[in-house]
Symmetry: C2
Subunit: 451 residues, 2 copies
Amino acid sequence: MPQTQPARGMRDFLPEDVRRRHYVIDVVRRVYERYGFEPLETPALENIETLTGKYGDEGNKLIFKVLRRGEHEASGEADLALRYDLTVPLARVVAEHRGKLPRVFKRYQIQPVWRADRPARGRFREFYQCDVDAIGSTSPIVEVEMLSAVSDVLLGLGFDDFKIRINHRQLLTDVLLYAGIGHGDHTTALVALDKLDKIGADGVTRELLSRDIAPAAAQQFVAMMTHDMRLADVPAGRGAADELEEIFRLARGTSAERHLTFDPGLARGLSYYTGAIMEIAVSGIGSLGGGGRYDGLIGMFSSEAIPACGFSLGLERILVVMSERGMFPAEVNTSGPDVVLAFPDDTAAELVLRLATQLRAADLRVDVYPESTKQGKHLGKALKYASERKAAFVAIIEERELAANEVRLRNTTTREDVRMPQTELVQFLSAHAASSSSRPSGLAPRGPDSE
Amino acid sequence: MPQTQPARGMRDFLPEDVRRRHYVIDVVRRVYERYGFEPLETPALENIETLTGKYGDEGNKLIFKVLRRGEHEASGEADLALRYDLTVPLARVVAEHRGKLPRVFKRYQIQPVWRADRPARGRFREFYQCDVDAIGSTSPIVEVEMLSAVSDVLLGLGFDDFKIRINHRQLLTDVLLYAGIGHGDHTTALVALDKLDKIGADGVTRELLSRDIAPAAAQQFVAMMTHDMRLADVPAGRGAADELEEIFRLARGTSAERHLTFDPGLARGLSYYTGAIMEIAVSGIGSLGGGGRYDGLIGMFSSEAIPACGFSLGLERILVVMSERGMFPAEVNTSGPDVVLAFPDDTAAELVLRLATQLRAADLRVDVYPESTKQGKHLGKALKYASERKAAFVAIIEERELAANEVRLRNTTTREDVRMPQTELVQFLSAHAASSSSRPSGLAPRGPDSE
């Protein structure tokens, strides 16, 4: 038999998976729309030159490359590549469509990316990124709005035990210099610092020493990073500390206020950050996303310096944590139809389809079991089907109900039957659906943003 | 400068495009959910063996193939390929997850596919397919539910001038045989018949003759296909005609009834159909989608015969037609924020962010222009920005408003200003948003299906 598994590191999303994913994406979208961010989508395939050289040597190896077609296929050359992240396509779009975009372009983008990483638990070769970026302003308002939006997303999903750690790239540089570590060793030192959570202060010190950083400098640096440094204590280069203080001041009264915490040890690996850097920490889980200001990157295709600040939510991670913690609302978990209709024989099928039409006009989710229940043991099969589909009710019509224009409605949870005139079915099921459905508070849909 | 266009045949979707696409997809989803269909998503990349050999020689050439990675990259071999349609992945999923799926699996899938076709007007190399299929039942209820669902989608999008042409594959075979065209010539004859709309009856006859079909047979076949044949007139093989009559009978009282029309000349190119075939025709536009019963295909990965019936909506085509006809509701076209807030200087920024927080808590879409308006000519820039963003209002706060705890609210359409206490802003803007937003009738969201 042929292989029927998805390709290595890829996943099929069955209905329950899709519903959970869409639930999360929907919350993210609604919140970002509420903050004035606009949706962008770019093609899965980019010209290979657009991507190569943008992610370092390691990244280059992980890009999925697409073979040229037709007569060129035999050459083994690639001319296209699959999207590796959402930042390079954003930079390309900004360069290409600058004239059509508002002077401050606030976009969110929720699309899959592909990386030929070694698959591991929680690491896939196709996964969604969920990015929000504001392009074109250096104002700290941008950072604050982003922190507040991200907080609203997490609160909307039901997280309340999160912190957003914040630091500043320039402040790290200043502290490194103050401790006596020269510019040439900064990348090494930050890579070591990034492991603070994993290997502890002694581990970081050992790593710095092994990289030939002077013991006094290494010790001072680690001490400064690990003692309870406040922004007011920052020893040198007040510029960055002032920026962070402005962010804290402006965040008062926004939903970020309660969650924001200065963390002088936060480094974030990516070298392209130029200003504030931030990361979501949930107790016992680690990072659910991060971001920061990167004023040098978006101009890569336009030889312009374009300021930018962005945040990326770890959608796949969020989904795993929400599943483990049982954070999905009941209506996402039990998302079967409101009712499955079963009919005794072909002469009754037309009646049942008319009933289905009426129920759907009332916005109920209605499934018709397509085989007549009189043949064979199809009533049992219809009931089994309704249970597989997690339907709330089965509406059974047999001879007796046909004769009396009634319907026997079985509650699939309580297994109780209730008999009623067919004309009352819409009202009964609508009332039940209204009482069992609820939305996360504050996320009621309105108008076009409820897409 | 580097290339900044998307790859050949691919498109960037700017915010307005994305909103229109999501609006249509949202209507499709809601309707399909209401019919008990469930969402499925499969990976963009499949193992290459999963796809090769499934689409004929021509199709094979149009598949985007992905180069093996690492040390194998130099070999020029491909081991993965990009999804070419949604049917083969569905067949794979059914074989792989059979035990987890309900006995009748009704799924919809709305995802991009990739084909290395020559790009042309309206033909892209990345485009969305929008498929709905019911797997596991031979009941004509399945066809009727599908026809009714597709009608509801089109009605929900605002189309009312559509017909759904229906025919039956077996009926075509019967008529061909009756006219005296042998089995060996059926494919040729149906390919010719498929062009009836384009080349007319004479053209089809000429093409049949050029393929060495006997003149009497060719003439009789074309005559039968073009005179106003009713189902009752079908001369031979009543089985197929009876099936179609059953579909017509059951469709009474569903939303398909008004639109369904028997068309003996409908052939549909794909050879895998085995029963009813159907196609949406909108006057002056042509096909917006089609489908039918194909009982032989879904079992391709499982050596089982699994009955199936499906329908594919031409999403890209629908989008083009809706744009041309101006069918998008106002709130999709003018989907800017409800208000852009402008502030005079950094000391007022905190106040403005607090206001933004209050407005967002009322589910308003709020953008804060991030530069203070006192510096330079930023009030003019803020107003220009609000107009680029298609915001409904700009809330201007300058010294006078600051002193009086007021806000000056400019309607960007009428350019009129109205002054009000800051405390009344939420109520005013909520009332305006409620009065200007509306949803297509019958598509009000409820519970989890409003994803």
